[in-house]
Symmetry: D2
Subunit: 354 residues, 4 copies
C-alpha cells in the first residue's frame, strides 16, 4: 500500500538495503520527453555515500539500469522501471543485530508489525531506498518547463544560517561539501560535523528548499493542498521530523496585519509569508519550505540496546553511517519536491475546460 507516491504521476518504490537492488517504477510519465540521463547521474552523485569526508564510507556506484519505458532516449508513456544494484553490502557488519533492537531505529517496530524483518543494514527502513527517489524525482522534474528547484543546508545542529534564502547566492550551493550557499557558515558546519564524527556521535540539521518559475494553479483544494503534499513528501524522507511552508512556525506569532501578502498590480505580492501558496494552490510566487532532520540514530560508540528476549545489550554501530545526513539529503528533498510538483502540474492541465 505504502510504496506508491503520487496521484497520476505515480512512483512505486522497492528495495531493502542489502537485497539485490533498490529501484522503482514511475508510471504516468507523459510520452515524448527526451530523458536527461546526465542530470539523473549528477543527482545520484550528490546523494551517493562516500562522496566526501562528511559522509559514510560505503561506496556505491549507484548507476541506474533502466528496464522499460524509454525508447531511443525518449519516454514512451509506459512505465519506467529501473534498478540500482546494491553492490557494496557488508551484511556481516549487521550480524550482531539479528536479535537486537537499536534505540530510535525501526528494528523494533518492523519486528512487531511484520513478525520478521530483514535485519541487514536496516532492510527496507534504510535510507538506501532514497537513491530510487532521486531517479524518479529527476525524471519528474523534466515535466515542468523552466522549473527551478534548489535545496540547501540551512542548519547543522545548533548552527543556523542567519540569512533568508532571498539574501543568498543559490548558485553557490554545491561549492562546498555541506551544500550550503553561505561559504563562511559552510566551514562552521563542516567543522561541527567533523568533530561530531570524531566523537562517534551524530547531529541533526535543516534544509531549505526554494522553487521558482512554478506556474500558478498547482495544488488542489482541501486534502491535496500543495503544501500538504509537500509536507507528506518531506516527512517520508528518513530522519525528517519537521516541516514548515512560508513563514511557518514564526508566522504563528504574527498578526494578520503584518502577515498578509499585499498584491502588486501584476498579481505578484510585496511580501511572501504565504510561501507561494494560497488556499493550497500555487500563486506564482516562489515556494519555499524548511525541513528538519533529527540526528542519525546509529552511533559509532556504545549504546544501550534491547534484544528479542527483553535483555539489555550494549551495541555499537559497525556499518558505515553518516554523522549528519543533511548534505546528502539535499538532492532527496529536491527529488521529492519534483515528484509532488510534476504530479500537480499534470493534474492542473485538466482542471478546467478551455
Amino acid at each position: 500500500m505504502s510504496n506508491t507516491f503520487g496521484r497520476i504521476l505515480r512512483f512505486t518504490s522497492f528495495g531493502e538495503s542489502h537485497g539485490k537492488a533498490v529501484g522503482g517504477i514511475l508510471d504516468g510519465m507523459p510520452a515524448g520527453i527526451e530523458v536527461d540521463f546526465d542530470s539523473i547521474r549528477r543527482q545520484l552523485q550528490r546523494r551517493r555515500p562516500g562522496q566526501s569526508a562528511l559522509t559514510t564510507s560505503r561506496q556505491e556506484d549507484d548507476e541506474p539500469v533502466f528496464l522499460s519505458g524509454i525508447f531511443e532516449g525518449k519516454t514512451l508513456g509506459t512505465p519506467i522501471a529501473f534498478l540500482i544494484e546494491n553492490t557494496n553490502t557488508r551484511s556481516s557488519d549487521y550480524d550482531h543485530l539479528k536479535n537486537t533492537f537499536r534505540p530510535s531505529h525501526a528494528d523494533f517496530t518492523y519486528e512487531k508489525k511484520y513478525g520478521l524483518r530483514d535485519w541487514r543494514g536496516g532492510g527496507r527502513a534504510s535510507a538506501r531506498e532514497t537513491a530510487a527517489r532521486i531517479v524518479a524525482g529527476t525524471l519528474a522534474r523534466q515535466i515542468i518547463p523552466g522549473i527551478d528547484i534548489k535545496a540547501y543546508v540551512h542548519a547543522v545542529g545548533p548552527l543556523h544560517l542567519n540569512k533568508n534564502w532571498t539574501d543568498l547566492d543559490l548558485s553557490k550551493i554545491d561549492s562546498n561539501p555541506v551544500r550550503t550557499p553561505d561559504p563562511e557558515m559552510a566551514l562552521a558546519f563542516e567543522k561541527l560535523i567533523a568533530e561530531t564524527k570524531k566523537r562517534g556521535d551524530t547531529v541533526g540539521g535543516q534544509i531549505v528548499c526554494v522553487v521558482q518559475n512554478l506556474p500558478v494553479g498547482l495544488g488542489e483544494p482541501v486534502f491535496d493542498k500543495l503544501h500538504a503534499r509537500l509536507a507528506s513528501a518531506m516527512m517520508s524522507i528518513p530522519a525528517v521530523k519537521a516541516f514548515e511552508i512560508g513563514s511557518g512556525f514564526a508566522g504563528t506569532e504574527m498578526f494578520g496585519s503584518e502577515h498578509n501578502d499585499v498584491f502588486r498590480s501584476d498579481g505578484s505580492t510585496e511580501t511572501n509569508y504565504s510561501g507561494g501558496i494560497q488556499g493550497g494552490i500555487s500563486n506564482g510566487m516562489p515556494v519555499y519550505f524548511r525541513v528538519g532532520f533529527k540526528p542519525v540514530s546509529t552511533l559509532m560508540r556504545p549504546q544501550k540496546g534491547f534484544d528479542k528476549e527483553g535483555n539489555a545489550v550494549v551495541i555499537e554501530g559497525k556499518g558505515r553511517h553518516d554523522p549528519c545526513v543533511v548534505p546528502r539529503a539535499v538532492p532527496i528533498v529536491e527529488a521529492m519536491a519534483a515528484l509532488v510538483l510534476a504530479d500537480f502540474y499534470l493534474l492542473n492541465k485538466i482542471s478546467r475546460i478551455e
Copy 2:
C-alpha cells in the same frame, strides 16, 4: 481528485461555504459499530462558530443529517453519507468581493486555476468544510478501541505554554474557551485574542496533539510513514503552515547521543523524542505533534486588495470571522488525526499472516 482522504477508510468531502450544505461520504467503515451520535454532536459544538466571545458570530446549528450507511444505530459497512446545511449564510456580505482578490486568501488562486469561483464566503476554500471533517473523524475514532486523542492550544501569537504536554493536566482542556490545559495561560491567551479582535486584527497560534493507547505497528514504510500522513492531514487544515512530530525542529539541534530513546525492558522507552514513531511505524509510546496556524487573513479593518482588472482597491472584512482560529481548530486536529490513525489501524490488521 483532491477531495478524498485515506487509503481504505476513505473520506470524500464536499461543499462550499454558502452553497446548500457541506458534508461527505465515509467509505470503508467496518460494519457493526454502534455510532456514538452524542460524541459527534459534542465535537461539532467544539468547532461551531458563535460558541464564545473568541469566535466569529456566524451562528450555525451544525446538526448533521445522516443519509446512509447506518441502520438501527449501527454501521452497515456501506458508505456513510451525511450533510450539514449552511443555514446562516449572509452572502450579501461578500458582494463586494465578486471581482476582488483579498490578500493571502484563495480568491486569486482559485480564479486563476479554475477560471471562475464561488466568491461567497470563500466558497470551497472556507474553513466551513472542516465541519464535515469533524463528523468523519469522530466516526473514525470509534474504530480503534481505547484510543485517546487530545489536542490543545499551545500558543497564541507570541505567547506559549512553557510546559511539556507531560506536565499538563489534559482533562482541563475544555475548562476554558481557548482550550488550553493551563488555566493561567488561558487567561493570557484570551486577553490577547480579545485585544487583537478589538483592533480588527487577527493572530496566529499553535496546537499540540497527544495520542495515547495507540497499538504498536501503525504506519507503513517509505511514503506512508505515520508522521508523513499526519503531516499531510494537518497541513490540509486551513491556515496551517507548520508541523512537527516528537522533538521536531528542536530535535534537529541535538546530537544522536542525546536524542536516541533508550529502551526499557518492556519495549517502552525512557525518553520519547521520537514522538512514538520509529521508521514511520508506531512503537506504542504516546504520539505527539505540534501544528502551527498563521493569523486569519480577513481583517475587520481596511486592507489593500486587487481587482480582476488589476486595480488596487481597499477592502474590509464584512463577513463574520475569527480573530484567532486555534480554539475552534482543536477538534479539527483531533478529527484529522483520527482519520489517519483509523486508516492505518485497519491496514495493519492485514499486514501479516497470523
Copy 3:
C-alpha cells in the same frame, strides 16, 4: 473501498433503498462546464420506476438536489454532491424478509459478510442506487465534446433483434417503452414482458451500446484497457452477468484472416470486429458492446427461501419489482459508459508532451 468509480473523474456513490436518500459525489469534473440539468432529468425519467406498464409501480420523482460544486449554472471544479430522496418507500413490504434470505439475492451474502444488513428493499444491494449513477454519468457525458452514446434493448429472454446496430435506426430507441430501435421486435418484446409479469415471473435480456464520435487514444495499456474498464462498469450494474466488446464471443470462432480489420488510407477500418479498440485504446471507429442481464430474482409468486435459523420458508415478493430490467437499464448502461469514457478522455490529455 468499493464505492468509488474512476481514476481522475471519480464518482463516489451512497445510499440504501429505504434510507433517506441515494446520491453521490462526482470529483474531478473540470471547471467551467455549463450543466445541462434538462438532460439529467430526462435520463432520470428514462430510468424512473413507474414510467410504463413494463416497470415496477414504485413511484419516485427522482428529482436530484445538487448540494455543491455548481455555481451560477457552471461547474466550479470542486466536488459535485447530490442526493435523490427516497420518498416512496414502503418498508413494511419487507418486514417478512428481516430474517429470511431470498434465493439469488444479496440477503445471504450481505448478512454473512457484514454480520448485519438493512433488509428493507434490498438495502445497498437494491438497484435504487443506479439513480445516482445516472446523474453522475450524465454530467460526465458533457466532458467529451460531440460524443454520442446510445444504448438499446437487443434481446428480451429468448427473443433477439436479428440486426446489427449498423442496420438499425438508433433515433427510434425511445419510440417505444422497451427502448429498442426495431418497432416490430418492440411489440414482441413488450408482449413477452407482459405475459411474464402476468405469471408473476421475470425474464432476462440484453442491451447493446454504441459510442460514436469518440476521439482516438482513449484507454491505457495493460490493466486499464478501455474495454476492461467498460466491462467492469457494466458488470457493476445489478443483474449483469455478461459483457462482450466488438465481435465478442462470436469472434472467438473466427480465423484471424477473417477477423482482422483492414485499414483504409484515412486510418478508419473496413470492418470493425475490434469494436473500435485496439490494444485497449480507442482507434476512432465506433465502440460497441453487448451486456447481458439475468432475470430479476424477486418473483411475484411463492418461492422457496431460507431463514437465519436454516429453516426452509416460502416467500413471495410484495415489494414493487420489474418483470424485466432491460428497458430501464438502457440509461444506466449509457451513464456508466460515459463515466468510463470521460475519465479516459481527461487522462488522455496528459498522455504526451505537446
Copy 4:
C-alpha cells in the same frame, strides 16, 4: 496510471517486449508467507513460448529474478519486485514495422496516443508482459488458504466442449498441450490449431475458469462487485473480447423461476446459475466464468497494412507468433483471478468489527 492492478494487494507491471526485461512490483503482500518458488516456475512454464508445437517458437527461459521483499524464503511485507529478462529478442524481425500499422494491432493506436512507440515486437502491447502477471498472480494465490483455481480451454474456433465444468475431470487439464480436460476434444482442438498454423492463419478460442473453496464474503457492493473485478481482470488480458459469469449470456434467455438458485438448509444452493456470487459478493459456491479470446492478429501470410504516410502496404508476420493463444493463456487467466481474489480476501478481513 494504468499499470497498477488491485486495491490493497497492488501489482504494478512494467516492460516492453524487446526492452531489457518485463516484471513488476507486488505491494501489499502480507508478511510471513513462505514463497512457493516452484509453483511460480511451474506456472511460468505453462505460459512459456516454445513449450509445444502449438505455440510460438520464441524461446524464453522466463526465470524470474526477485529483487526485494523476500528474506530467507519468506515475504517481508515490503514490496516484492521482480524481473524476467527478455533474452530471445530478434528485433530485426520487426524492422519492416517501424513505419507500418498492422491491422487489428495496437501499432496505430499507440502511435496516435503517444506520438511515438516501441515498434519492436509490439512493445508494451505485446503479450510478453503477461509473464509478469503469472509471477504476481502465483504469489497472490498463496494468500488464500485452500483456494483452488483451475482454468481450461473450453473452445478453439468453432469447436466447443459440450460438457459443463461439473462433468469434467479437472485434474486432466495438463494432460495435453491444449490444456483441456476432455481428451477427445483435445485431439480435435490440436488438429484445428495445427491446420490453422499451416495456413499461416490464426484462430480464437475460449477458456473456462473454476474457483473452489472460496470463502463467503469476497467482493464489495456497487462498483467493486467480485464479478466486475474479475471481468476487468480478464478483459485486460491481450486478445480477450468477452466475459461471462455463471449463467452468462445463456442466463439472459431464462425466466426468474428457472434461474433462481434455491437454498439448501446449509446455505449452499441446489443450482448455481449465479456463479457463486450474489450482489457482487461470493456465497461459498464455486465461482466459474468464461473468457473469449479473438484470433491473434499477426498472420504468417500477406495482409494489407497501412503506413505512417497513409499508403497501403503488404505485410507478413516475421516474428514468432502463436496460431491460437488459449493454451498458453490458461495460467494467465488463473493468475489474474488470483490477484482479484486475494485482494478481496484481504479487504474482507476488515469489513466488520469482530
